[in-house]
Symmetry: C2
Subunit: 281 residues, 2 copies
Amino acid sequence: MASPPERPARPLGPLALNTATTRGQWNLLQAIEGCARHGITGIAPWRDQLAACGVPEVARAIHGHGLTVTALCRGGMFTGADAASRASALDDNRRAVDEALAIGAQCLVLVVGGLPPGSKDLGEARKQVEDSLGELLVHAGAGGMPLALEPLHPMYAADRACVNTLQQANDLCDALGAGIGVAVDVYHVWWDPQLAREIARAGKRILGFHICDWLVPTTDLLLDRGMMGDGVIDIRGIRILVQAAGYAGFCDVEIMSAENWWKRDPDEVLRICVQRHRTVV
Amino acid sequence: MASPPERPARPLGPLALNTATTRGQWNLLQAIEGCARHGITGIAPWRDQLAACGVPEVARAIHGHGLTVTALCRGGMFTGADAASRASALDDNRRAVDEALAIGAQCLVLVVGGLPPGSKDLGEARKQVEDSLGELLVHAGAGGMPLALEPLHPMYAADRACVNTLQQANDLCDALGAGIGVAVDVYHVWWDPQLAREIARAGKRILGFHICDWLVPTTDLLLDRGMMGDGVIDIRGIRILVQAAGYAGFCDVEIMSAENWWKRDPDEVLRICVQRHRTVV
């Protein structure tokens, strides 16, 4: 980001709401209505929220408002201590693919899982992930549902995802072939010295671009994400890199913030998201 | 760590106490006495603790007990918003080199600093670090004090250190030449998919090996480190890699733990460190 490309930035991609952002107060149908009220044209729901409101009801509401479903969040959590738990996880991921198809999502986001219970073997966990992705691709490919592998910040390596850099995700995509790409979330990758190189390498493989901010100080590893502009991430710099690589899709705002944004009036949150999307991204 | 080398591990390096571990209750002179009582033959003091007890008094006590000073913690914090603050940081680092020489430390550990106030430009911060390291090397080289660049976990990129992987530290060492090496702290690097490769690359450049553990869950980004064996890091696997690369020095235990270990009887903490060093490292 020290030397952003000198050519003018492409037009900003439209804003989408990842519904983790309003999880504190709105169910998924309310979030859909909220998007429509605030002129937000894309949405990325979570599976538990989808289940709570019902797939047909949600599909109807999304269609009724003409929203683009940028992604379904999320599949993954492939790692396990034994074959039975891994097979069960894979089954659940096949259902996630079917749900993504049912609501017309552009991709299924995958958070791959961390160390199995009792394990300290990251190499083995990473091998489990690669194996499961290969198996899931058969089902996803048959339905035509792209899988979006999301590298998570290294602070989640133990308990959420053992894929922790974009380089690692790109390597996995190279190994696995067609049907799988990456989701680039600024929160997870902003620190990476190899970021510019790996975004360029990802190219058309980029299936999603997620935005929020890194707060200083950060008081919780999971639920203290910031609103764009309130932290230290050069979001615009990364957006320009992602676009230069060929991504022309939405900017999905995803702010998990137990003590701040989840407690505010969701309409206020969406108003600020819309504003910051224009001024900061 | 999936496939540790099959050759037998070399003998475990001796234990050293990084005095951040007993910061909650002991001053530096008490920590020196504690090491002597528990048969710990190495110590790595912090500068503020050294200043509080006095350099001559500390040097005398360390010499009296025949302790090895594995490192002085810490120099660094090179980044700044203007030339004056960066020059002031460099002056302070020259004093740190002199203190390290005064207590006979084997190296000066460097935590390089994060983003300057108001900046979002990691590339610029990293360039500042490289420039300051080059300048500090003149003074350190004249005194014969090795500098140990410590890559910090990416969760500290904003506020503590913008050198976040061992690859990045190795690249800097390559660029800067003689007089600088790396400190490998398992807490900062355990998640890195390139770890084995970069430890081998570091080779004789490894000036320190720091141990503690990553807890699940981790409740604080800075002060919730775990005792070896209480977390998920394959410490032994990393120790074997570091030794295979040629490192034959101490294992420095460094546990910053505001809510647990800092509140316990420091003699109990040292007893457990000695035990876990044998059984887990």
